[in-house]
């Protein structure tokens, strides 16, 4: 980062970037269907993806550039506590095995494009559906912003964009270009673009990780040395907190935090609109179940990646901004050309999820705000058009976010986003299995969870930040330190259950349920699947 730009590294990076750009535009022609101007086509890729495409798409979607930068960065900073991402991604799969096929089936029968569509149909409540949609959009925006932060980290280490002393336009130009390209092909190709690019992204990532996990330890003298050095570094007392920097194994007091973070994050992951978009684009319910058995390959990769955090310590990488630790490690360790490949992997790794997230947020806006509240008689063509434009607006918003505000703001909001999105779990997953919950109780539970989560997160201080200093806080009544999102979630369920009893006792109107029990188990090809794809209400 100090030695200026490396031509070879930059050249390889730009080459990879150009290659995926071409792919992104060509994707519009890939598996094109007859009714191309509908939200089903643009926003869900025609609901046609098989096992492998879904695998790449979901993998490309869930394991984002930010993950690749942030997980090892957390391990680099504090050791064991950053490793919770591994149990988190393990627990995700048994969960989705259980509930996502039901969501897929009911969505296919009724033509639902978003989770809010389902919530509205199941509970007959536009208010609840709006709450879910707004939560989804709010949680997704900072996530997109963080993808751009991921690209920035790579560009910084490569030395393009200059340091603090260049003027803002030159500094941000590479990011603006990357962004413009992303916006253009998402607009023209919809979900097909990230699906196709995900192949390249994942192939690059797998190659880079495989090489890194073998090559770097050999250069550093084996894992024994790496962990010995890391252990030594973690035992140093930090002057800011008066405590050791971290630990190789979570201490007794940190175990609740570790477990609740893993569980809470696992529950939240598939509430995010972009995960659902990628799921609904698959062509049958079996594709989803089959995927839960092969997606853990990504978790393994994530675990190996997290170990890079220790290698960065052992290699003596010293960065003030932890986010730069891994890109810096790559630059220090790899030959120039391979550093270019590694950077391209992270950069492209940012484009795929950013595209899917903006599509997912746009779908939410179009279906659950525009169509429900502004223009109920919108045609499928108009829906697709609105979605395309909103996907642009969402990205511009994220860009403005990154360029005008401090990076920590995006990270704070991302942390809040995770807490918020978890509060839609009772309405969505609860709704998939039972109609017992009352819609107003769900709305109240959601509001309580959101309020508690926000206030609690605001009150967490860290050595560097007065507010939003972390996502863990003392759990009221238990006294251990746990993930705020999970505490808010438990509170949410408690309020929902109590209020459901009350509302049922006073016979509050339940709303109309447009789904039937057999909607939840239907597979592609079964009668009535597809038939009702014509937009209802």
């Amino acid at each position: 980062m100090k030695d200026g730009v490396n031509g070879v590294t930059l050249g390889v990076f730009i080459f990879c970037f150009l290659a995926v750009t071409v792919m992104g535009f060509l994707a519009a022609r890939w598996r094109r269907a007859d009714n191309e101007h509908s939200l089903d086509e643009w926003g869900l890729g025609g609901r046609s993806f098989g096992t492998w495409i879904t695998w790449f798409l979901l993998g490309g979607d869930l394991y984002t550039a930010y993950t690749f930068v942030a997980v090892p960065a957390a391990v680099y900073a504090a050791g064991a506590s950053g490793f919770f991402a591994v149990p988190y991604t393990i627990l995700v799969y048994p969960l989705i095995f259980t509930f996502l096929p039901r969501l897929w089936s009911v969505s296919h029968r009724h033509g639902y494009v978003t989770t809010s569509d389902f919530v509205r149909g199941r509970f007959g409540s536009k208010g609840l559906s709006l709450a879910v949609a707004l939560t989804g959009i709010l949680a997704t925006m900072p996530y997109i912003a963080l993808q751009l932060v991921g690209i920035q980290a790579v560009l910084d280490v490569m030395g393009v964009g200059g340091g603090e002393n260049t003027n803002w336009f030159v500094k941000d130009l590479p990011l603006l270009i990357a962004f413009g390209v992303l916006a253009a092909y998402t607009y023209s190709s919809g979900l097909r673009a990230p699906a196709l690019i995900a192949f390249v992204k994942d192939a690059l990532i797998y190659i880079v990780i495989a090489v890194a996990i073998i090559y770097i330890p050999i250069k550093l003298g084996g894992f024994d040395d790496i962990f010995a050095k890391a252990s030594h570094a973690f035992s140093q007392v930090s002057p800011a907190t008066g405590k050791p920097r971290g630990a190789l194994v979570p201490p007794e007091a940190g175990q609740w935090t570790y477990a609740t973070l893993a569980l809470g994050s696992a529950l939240a992951l598939f509430m995010y609109p972009h995960s659902i978009t990628a799921t609904l684009s698959s062509k049958s319910r079996e594709v989803i179940r089959r995927n839960t058995t092969i997606l853990p390959l990504y978790s393994l990769m994530l675990g190996l990646l997290a170990l890079l955090g220790f290698m960065a310590i052992a290699a003596g990488v010293k960065v003030t901004n932890g986010q730069l630790a891994i890109p810096q490690l790559f630059e220090d360790m790899f030959p120039d050309w391979f550093a270019g490949v590694a950077f391209a992997a992270i950069g492209i790794g940012a484009l795929v999820p950013a595209a899917i997230m903006s599509i997912a947020a746009a779908n939410l806006f179009t279906r659950n705000i525009y169509k429900d509240f502004i223009k109920p008689d919108a045609t499928p063509r108009q829906e697709a058009q609105v979605s395309k434009i909103v996907s642009l607006l969402v990205k511009v918003g994220a860009l403005v976010f990154v360029l005008t505000m401090d990076k920590t703001v995006a990270i704070n909001f991302q942390l809040l986003g995770g807490i918020w999105i978890l509060q839609t779990f009772p309405a969505l997953v609860g709704g998939l299995f039972t109609r017992w919950f009352h819609r107003w109780a769900l709305l109240a539970g959601w509001a309580v969870g959101m309020a508690y989560g926000t206030v609690a997160a605001y009150g967490v201080a860290s050595p560097t930040q007065q507010h939003f200093g972390g996502s863990a806080k003392e759990i009221p009544g238990i006294g251990e330190i746990g993930y705020i999102g999970l505490t808010a979630f438990v509170l949410n369920i408690a309020v929902t259950v109590v209020l459901t009893f009350v509302l049922k006792a006073v016979k509050a109107p339940e709303g109309i349920d447009e789904t039937r029990p057999d909607d939840y188990t239907a597979d592609a090809g079964a009668p009535r699947v597809q038939k009702e794809l014509a937009p209802t209400a």
């Binding site: 393990i90 627990l91 048994p94 095995f97 962990f227 190789l248 839960t292 675990g303 170990l307």
Partner: protein
Amino acid sequence: MSETPEVRPPVVTPVRVIITFCLVAPFVALLWVGSYAKTDPAFIGIPFFYWYQMLWVLISAALTMIAYKLWLRDQRGRTSQKGGEAK
């Protein structure tokens, strides 16, 4: 099969108990952090805490795979029992 359509297969069957076990086991193993929060025994220099959790990626994938196969068989059994009625 000459069963009357009213006879439904039981909801809880041994196969389904095994499926549930396969899906619940990772939660028990991984949320019980105290059971693996230690450095020894190390594997090629990697502390126990890390390799054990990565091993669970594989175990959990295998368990999900078993659950999936059993589920398919369970579903096939049910459809054939119902005969043409579901079509």
